[in-house]
Structure formats: structure tokens, C-alpha cells
């Protein structure tokens, strides 16, 4: 179980997280909310990429607030970045095999790496020896990033907006990766998403706004509130735009 106790995070001029307290023991938790609400900051604080200004983080009863990133990773937390990192010289195989773990023998690591690539829709034969450099497109990098998280199969996997940078149609075909991870590992998935299909399959949804948790509850329940709260606002923005550009009535 993950427990966040009054987590705050501030920069010089802004308070990004304003005292977040949560207890997460569900298997699939989606985090949603408007841009700038602190979603990525919260996930990074859990991974240890950012140190909260105040508050404590507990994983299965252990206080991990002061632990560095690598120690949290070894305790079973994984992180899929919103903007995947590129490496000159390192190959897809290198990182997928690293994700597969050192306890497994080389042959198994390789076949595991190929399997996860296929799951994210990339031909393993074609991609396994590609370098993780600028020759890969943003969409390809994103799929590989998701594959890496899936390859680790951790106790807790954090996905920072996996749909960003992938077109809607392709992302729909990736949803089964999260479902499979959910089914095959006993772990928890926390995923920042705005995709209805992701929100629909979530056990719980956290709705963040301005650095605060506005809603945290059963997926369906939060979704109902979100539809009332969010839809009219986005529609009115669209209507305004249409009016301004003279599209309306054509």
C-alpha cells in the first residue's frame, strides 16, 4: 500500500502540491485533472525524482521519503516518462534487458524483451537492435517506454501520461498492455490519463486541481462528477472558438 501524508511541493514562485494525503491500496488508479494541476509532480515525488517540500511517503509500511530513486526502484517502483529519454549508443535491447532484471538468464531476458515489444505493437526483430536516439520517432519512443515499464512488471508502476505523443487510434490499441499488466502482475498501476477508456477501467480515480485532490473515489462515481464538472466547460470553449472563427452555422 502507498500512503502519502500531507505532501507539499513548492518552487520559488509557486505552490504546486498543497498538502496531498492519500492511501492507495487499489490495483489500478488513474490520476486526471487539468494541465498544471500537479499530476506529474505527484508521480515524480512518489518515484523520488523530486523531493517533496514537506510530507512523508510510505510504501508497504516503510517510510521511503528519503530514499533515492534507485532504491525505490529496487523496492519495486517503476516509472514510465511522459517524454522518453534518448540515449546515443544504447539500444532498445539494452534497456529492455535491464528492465527484465538481472536474476533472469540472458536468453529469457531477450525473449521477454521481444514479447513486450510485440505487445506495444512494434516488430521485435526490427526494433530490438535500434539505438534509442533521434532516429526513433516520438511515438516509437513512447511505445518503447511503455514496453520497458511492462517488462519490469513491478509492485507499483507509475505511468506519466502514456497517451501523450501517441495518436488516439494507436493509443486505443495500447490499452490492452495496461490491462495485461493489471492481470499478470499483482502490482498497482498508477496512471496519469485523460482517456475515457483508461478512466473507465480504473478501480479508483484521483482528480487533481490546483495541487489539491478534489475527488478520490470509485472510478464510476468520480467519472459521473467529472462529466458534469468538465464537459460543459470544454464545450463552451469550443463554442467560443467556433463563433470567433465563424464556423458556427456553416
Amino acid at each position: 500500500m502507498l500512503k502519502l501524508e500531507n505532501i507539499t511541493y513548492s518552487t520559488d514562485d509557486r505552490e504546486i502540491l498543497k498538502g496531498i494525503s492519500l492511501e492507495i491500496d487499489d490495483r489500478f488508479v488513474a490520476i486526471t485533472g487539468p494541465n498544471g494541476s500537479g499530476k506529474s509532480t505527484l508521480l515524480k515525488a512518489i518515484m523520488g525524482i523530486l523531493s517533496p517540500t514537506s510530507g512523508r511517503i510510505w510504501l508497504d509500511g516503510e517510510d521511503i521519503t528519503e530514499l533515492p530513486v534507485s532504491e525505490r526502484a529496487n523496492l519495486g517502483i517503476s516509472f514510465a516518462f511522459q517524454q522518453p529519454v534518448r540515449f546515443k549508443g544504447l539500444k532498445v535491447r539494452d534497456l529492455l534487458e535491464l528492465a527484465g532484471g538481472s536474476g533472469v538468464d540472458a536468453k529469457d531476458r531477450f525473449s521477454h524483451a521481444c514479447n513486450v515489444l510485440s505487445e506495444v505493437g512494434l516488430c521485435a526483430k526490427e526494433y530490438i537492435d535500434r539505438e534509442l536516439d533521434s532516429t526513433l520517432s516520438g511515438g516509437e519512443m513512447k511505445r518503447i517506454e511503455i514496453a520497458m515499464a511492462a517488462a519490469r512488471g513491478s509492485k507499483m508502476t507509475l505511468f506519466d501520461e502514456p497517451e501523450a505523443g501517441i495518436d488516439l487510434w494507436s493509443f486505443q490499441s495500447l490499452i490492452h498492455v495496461f490491462e495485461k499488466l493489471y492481470q499478470e502482475t499483482a502490482g498497482t498501476i498508477m496512471i496519469i490519463s485523460h482517456q475515457e477508456r483508461i478512466l473507465n477501467i480504473a478501480d479508483k480515480i484521483i482528480y487533481l486541481k490546483d495541487g489539491e485532490v478534489l475527488e478520490y473515489g470509485e472510478g464510476r462515481q468520480v467519472m459521473q462528477h467529472l462529466e458534469i464538472d468538465v464537459s460543459p466547460a470544454s464545450c463552451s470553449v469550443l463554442q467560443d472558438k467556433m463563433t470567433r472563427t465563424g464556423i458556427e452555422g456553416r
Binding site: S70, A73, N74, S78, F79, V85, K88, G89, L98
Partner: protein, 305 residues
């Protein structure tokens, strides 16, 4: 051959035993073993130290190993190896030099390798420089590589020096005739107070010639690296030069890519970048369980692969 020499041979040429095919192993200034074949002849020079390697026209899928090892402290040598590669060949040449210096005197190997590649031939050249030893004597290497490609010939050079050499001046000069192509991938790592300078010059004299020169360097500790990478386009040709370096600690790197065109149809590009390891790269690998040091090592290993 003693254990140190065997170890050096393994490091520079990945050899556990004598290689298959033609070879010449030079150890502490003398030829230690040699084999020639019907297609590849190796002849000792009579006017200066070194050998001529003569590869018959039409030789395909063959290799030549010419490693040099020095384990005697204070040994200094200049060796000239000339490769005459006939037309329509497809061969791999594995060179390399390893110095183990446990004494107080400097050991030095200056190898001058010249390649004359015949029409339509394809050559792959792998050269690895390696140094080790606990003595106060320095380990020095100054390789010079001269390449002349005839019409339609192609050559791929993979050269590396991953630590262990105190001072080096690496000179490469290449001339490309019509429709020939040259690919150079040079990797260097310096550490401590090591000093390395590379001067590469590729002259594309023939129409349709192409070259791709990539230099990757990592400077750690207080080490100094300098690279001058020049491409001259004297014909309708295309050339690409890339100097890419990672700087660490108090290292110093000076990278100077230079392009010169004397023909309106020459298309030349250069890229140069120096930077430290990106924090996000370290963090990415740390989220996969590596310590910061392990992450750094993995990034450098990949970069210099």
C-alpha cells in the same frame, strides 16, 4: 608468450589462440608469429621496420590479424605497415596495439598504416588501442592511418582507444576517388591526466564519393582531448562529419570540425556537440534500479560502443 602478452593479445584482438587465416603478431619489437595464405602474403620490409601485406585481387571473405603488443618497459618503436589490396576484394583487417608497462621508463608504439585499396574492393578495418600497467613509465601511442581508395572502393574504419594511454596523437589522412566511400567511427576515452589529439582529413577527389566520419569522445578526470576533423570536397561528392563528446569532472575537450568545398556540387555537413551526461538519462536508468555510478557507466559504454 607469457601471461601478460596473452592478456594483451586478448584485449586488442580478442584472440585466445592463433587466428585463422593470415596473421602477423609483433611482440616487443619482433615478429612473434606469422602465417600467410595463398591469397594474402605478408613480407618484412627491408628498408625500415614493418611489413607489407599484399592481398590478391578477388580475395573475398578473408581476414588478416596484425596485433602489436609491448610488455617491455622502455621499448620505443616506429613501425610501417603497408596494405596493398587488389581489385574486387572483400576483406577484414584486425589491427590493434596493447602496451603493458610496469616499469619506470616510457613505452611507445608509433604505427603508420597505409592502405591502398583497389577498384571495387571492400575493406573493414578494426583497430583497438589498449594500455595497462602499474609502472611510472608512460604508455604512448601515435598511430597514423593513410587511406587511398580507388574507384568504387569502400572502407570502414572502426578505431578505439578506451583509456590506458597517457599521450596520443592520432593522424588519419584519406583520399577518395570516384564513387568510393569511407566510413570512420572513432571512439576515445581519456582519464586521469591523459592527453589525446586526433587529426583527421578526408579529401574527396572523385565524383560520387561519399564519407561519413563520426568521432565520439569521453574526457574524464583532468584529461584533455582535441579533435580536428576536416573534410574537403573537390568533386560532386557528399560528406558528413560528427564530433560528439561527453565531458566529465575537470576534463577539457576541443572539437574543430572543418569543411572545405572547392566544387559547387560538393555537399558537406558537420555536427559537433560537447556536453555532460544529461541528468534525465541518469534518472531514467536509476528508475530501473541502477545506482548513479552504474547508470553513468552504462551511458558511457553505450556512447562508446
Amino acid at each position: 608468450m607469457d601471461a601478460i602478452q596473452k592478456h594483451l593479445l586478448k584485449e586488442v584482438a580478442e584472440l585466445d589462440a592463433l587466428p585463422v587465416g593470415a596473421y602477423n603478431i609483433r611482440s616487443n619489437g619482433k615478429s612473434a608469429a606469422r602465417n600467410t595464405t595463398a591469397e594474402i602474403d605478408i613480407v618484412t620490409k627491408t628498408d625500415k621496420p614493418g611489413i607489407d601485406i599484399i592481398i590478391r585481387p578477388g580475395t573475398k571473405k578473408k581476414s588478416v590479424h596484425i596485433p602489436v603488443i609491448i610488455s617491455e618497459s622502455g621499448l620505443k618503436e616506429v613501425v610501417y605497415n603497408d596494405f596493398f589490396i587488389g581489385e574486387d576484394c572483400d576483406v577484414t583487417i584486425i589491427a590493434g596495439c596493447g602496451i603493458s608497462n610496469c616499469g619506470g621508463e616510457d613505452s611507445q608504439h608509433d604505427g603508420v598504416h597505409s592502405f591502398f585499396v583497389g577498384k571495387g574492393s571492400k575493406v573493414r578495418y578494426i583497430e583497438k588501442h589498449y594500455g595497462e600497467g602499474t609502472g611510472e613509465g608512460k604508455r604512448l601511442m601515435n598511430p597514423t592511418t593513410v587511406v587511398e581508395l580507388e574507384e568504387g572502393a569502400s572502407m570502414e574504419l572502426q578505431t578505439s582507444q578506451i583509456g590506458g594511454i597517457h599521450d596520443t596523437l592520432r593522424i588519419t589522412n584519406a583520399k577518395l576517388a570516384e564513387n568510393s566511400s569511407l566510413s570512420i567511427h572513432d571512439k576515445i576515452l581519456t582519464e586521469g591526466d591523459q592527453h589525446a589529439k586526433a587529426e583527421m582529413q578526408v579529401d574527396m577527389d572523385g565524383d560520387g564519393s561519399t564519407c561519413d566520419v563520426i568521432s565520439r569522445g569521453v574526457a574524464k578526470g583532468d584529461s584533455y582531448q582535441e579533435i580536428v576533423l576536416g573534410i574537403t570536397g573537390n568533386a560532386a561528392c557528399s560528406g558528413h562529419a560528427e564530433c560528439d563528446s561527453i565531458i566529465m569532472d575537470r576534463g577539457v575537450i576541443l572539437a574543430s570540425p572543418q569543411l572545405k568545398a572547392t566544387n559547387v556540387d560538393a555537399a558537406l555537413i558537420h555536427e559537433a556537440a560537447i556536453g555532460k551526461i544529461a541528468g534525465e538519462q541518469l534518472i531514467k536508468l536509476m528508475t530501473m534500479g541502477l545506482s548513479e555510478k552504474e547508470a553513468e557507466d552504462m551511458i558511457i559504454r553505450g556512447f562508446l560502443r
